[in-house]
Symmetry: C2
Subunit: 169 residues, 2 copies
């Protein structure tokens, strides 16, 4: 079957968010072995003016959720960013996986030309077509935030490696 | 036009490697302003057992080059990893952009089912079809290395931001 808008985004989100759950499990195990509070990871930052770990996970989730909804032309659900523990961040990843899986391929396929508006703080929205939004906004943003989450855990000494990053074979 | 194997990979590589060149330019400017050797970036690591900045750029390049060649069914060119300066890393990014652009869409499109073998140190190669290789190996690896390169510069105080990461609008 030819590659399609749905086959490019949905399996990527599901796979990488599943991998993220593995990284969170390894982070918890690392904290337990060292006897520190696993929720200490949530405030880690690579630089003082970068968003903390918890926000990296939440924004990765938002990017996947927003991409599916916008390409399907349905309202983007609002989820409270109230996760305060590593376990709650893991549940957020699962909720996102379930949301991505709730879309049929037919809802997303053919959305290459759909007009997508992304609100900005400055006022004027960013305007994309579906294909450009997927390739040059949603996917790079998604990978940015999952990779930054991974980098924070790796930097903190959690024993994750490239096989955990790529995941599920 | 429907999304295709070529339209998913080539514009992504070209755009993100162009963005990387902007980050390198900002890194050079940062070094000049602080009067330190801009080649000091090349050895930076997020953790002592992670690859340094120079290797992150080289592997991002290799991932893009290998993806184009393998999907087109041509031999992957071997490039020496001998870049020793920031300027040489910038040239490596440009060489990669030029290589990606040297492929016609027709060479890559329709490669969803092509068998792709990736050699491993353990001996047994990884076996993919073209679509799975693109989505679950080449793209995540590519984004891993460009994002880690970005994170290293960001961590080092270079004034790059999300607009530089996403780039060219």
């Amino acid at each position: 079957m030819p590659i399609s808008m749905h086959s490019v985004c949905a399996p990527t989100f599901v796979r990488m968010l599943g991998n993220l759950q593995t990284w969170l499990d390894k982070a918890r195990a690392h904290a337990e072995a060292r006897k520190f509070d696993p929720n200490n990871y949530l405030g880690l930052r690579l630089a003082p003016d970068m968003l903390p770990f918890s926000r990296q996970v939440q924004i990765a989730s938002d990017t996947a959720k927003g991409c599916m909804a916008r390409l399907a032309g349905v309202e983007v659900p609002k989820w409270e960013d109230n996760e305060a523990t590593l376990a709650e961040l893991r549940a957020r990843a699962q909720k996102t996986i379930d949301y991505v899986k709730s879309f049929a391929a037919a809802q997303i396929d053919g959305s290459e030309g759909r007009e997508i508006l992304i609100p900005t703080r400055a006022g004027e929205p960013l305007v994309f077509n579906g294909e450009s939004y997927l390739k040059h906004y949603a996917l790079p943003n998604f990978y940015f935030h999952v990779t930054t989450a991974y980098a924070l855990l790796r930097h903190a000494g959690v024993e994750v490696g490239k096989a955990d990053y790529l995941g599920g074979r």
